[in-house]
Symmetry: C2
Subunit: 225 residues, 2 copies
């Protein structure tokens, strides 16, 4: 029987590459994407289109957590950071940090994985070219996996659920190269935090993505310019 | 300034006692209760009434997670277990187990705690007189706390968030005695899994609760019989 994985799919470059990686590794995948009030909720349309293209079932969950308005990613009246590329992820945790986001996402994925007896949860977290969020770092993800296997039926009964983060130690250039190699339909992905009609080119996410394509010497199929 | 705590408040005996414990310890509390499709959703009315009585703000969050129908607690067409009292929590994980429930609940509480700079999350988990769920055990809760402090802004910046489970090592008799001592308005609490007009008296939760009152030599103010 094919191994099963729950893939956290936001619709961005990283999670889409993680999905295609899991498929290439032979996992039967189910996608999970979450609306949590993010200003770039349009990423969820990308997630849907990607799941359709990859022929995987997708679960879209809606969370209404009013306290998340504290993040500039969840409040359109707040200004998004516009840092020079070299400073992204190097200083303080930025205003786009969403409290406990990956813990909430991974917990929902864990619930689905435990209910469906999946062996893995796949997350596109990245700790090199990233915004500096604490919930993208290796020791956090290891600690989540340990907790997950103590607190679930399958985990506690000797059927462990692994947290797989295939992009964790790749830089953006390597991620872009991997995406091309895996034939990820990059034209369908959405990374921009601003969530306007076209990518803003100024937010952390746009800048890191652009850096990846530049260093990989490729043009970004999602840019219509 | 008063310390702050987020209290997971289901409306049952244990979580209500945990709330009054936290208040007695001097915490400024906010309650969090979650609708996840449980057949005894009426417990949420109890949670509301308890929060009002205790004069704490309460957040009620709705989750629509279709895969939870696997649990007999989330599907009224499934039969609830009816075990002899002495066997409850001693054998296999029962059909009322909800995949990843406490992890999802604690994650939402963690998000709120991180957003509001609360120092603690309080949960009424109990590992003595309980149904045998893995996500109520001490090593699981310790692992959650460790993960939580690696993956949040406050935790990772030296402002730890503690997971407090004051009832973890108490039996039901001791919990009932503590509830009376703390003047918990027990008449407002709801424990029964069946969620009918009156407590069924047969489910794990009813039986464990009745045992507690019996051994504490008290009558249960929530029973109108």
């Amino acid at each position: 029987m094919k191994k099963k994985a729950v893939v956290l799919l936001s619709g961005g470059l990283d999670s889409s590459t993680a999905l295609y990686w899991a498929k290439a590794k032979g996992y039967h995948c189910e996608g999970l994407s979450i609306f949590y009030g993010q200003r770039h909720a349009r990423e969820l349309l990308s997630a849907q289109a990607l799941a359709k293209k990859a022929k995987v079932k997708i679960h879209q969950i809606k969370l209404d957590l009013p306290w998340l308005k504290i993040s500039s990613l969840n409040d359109r009246t707040k200004k998004l950071p516009n840092l020079p590329l070299t400073q992204i992820g190097r200083g303080e945790i930025p205003s786009t940090y969403v409290p406990g986001r990956n813990t909430v996402f991974l917990s929902l994925a864990l619930s689905l994985a435990d209910a469906t007896q999946a062996q893995a949860i796949v997350i596109g977290a990245n700790a090199l070219d990233y915004s500096g969020y604490p919930d993208c770092r290796p020791n956090y993800l290891n600690a989540f996996e340990r907790m997950a296997n103590l607190g679930t039926k399958n985990g506690s009964m000797g059927r462990p659920i692994k947290i797989l983060s295939p992009l964790l130690h790749l830089d953006k250039e390597q991620i872009v190269r991997l995406a091309f190699k895996l034939k990820v339909p990059l034209e369908l992905t959405w990374s921009c935090y601003a969530g306007e009609k076209n990518p803003c080119g100024k937010c952390d996410s746009c800048k890191l993505r652009a850096k990846g394509f530049l260093l990989a010497k490729a043009s970004d199929p999602a840019l219509k310019i």
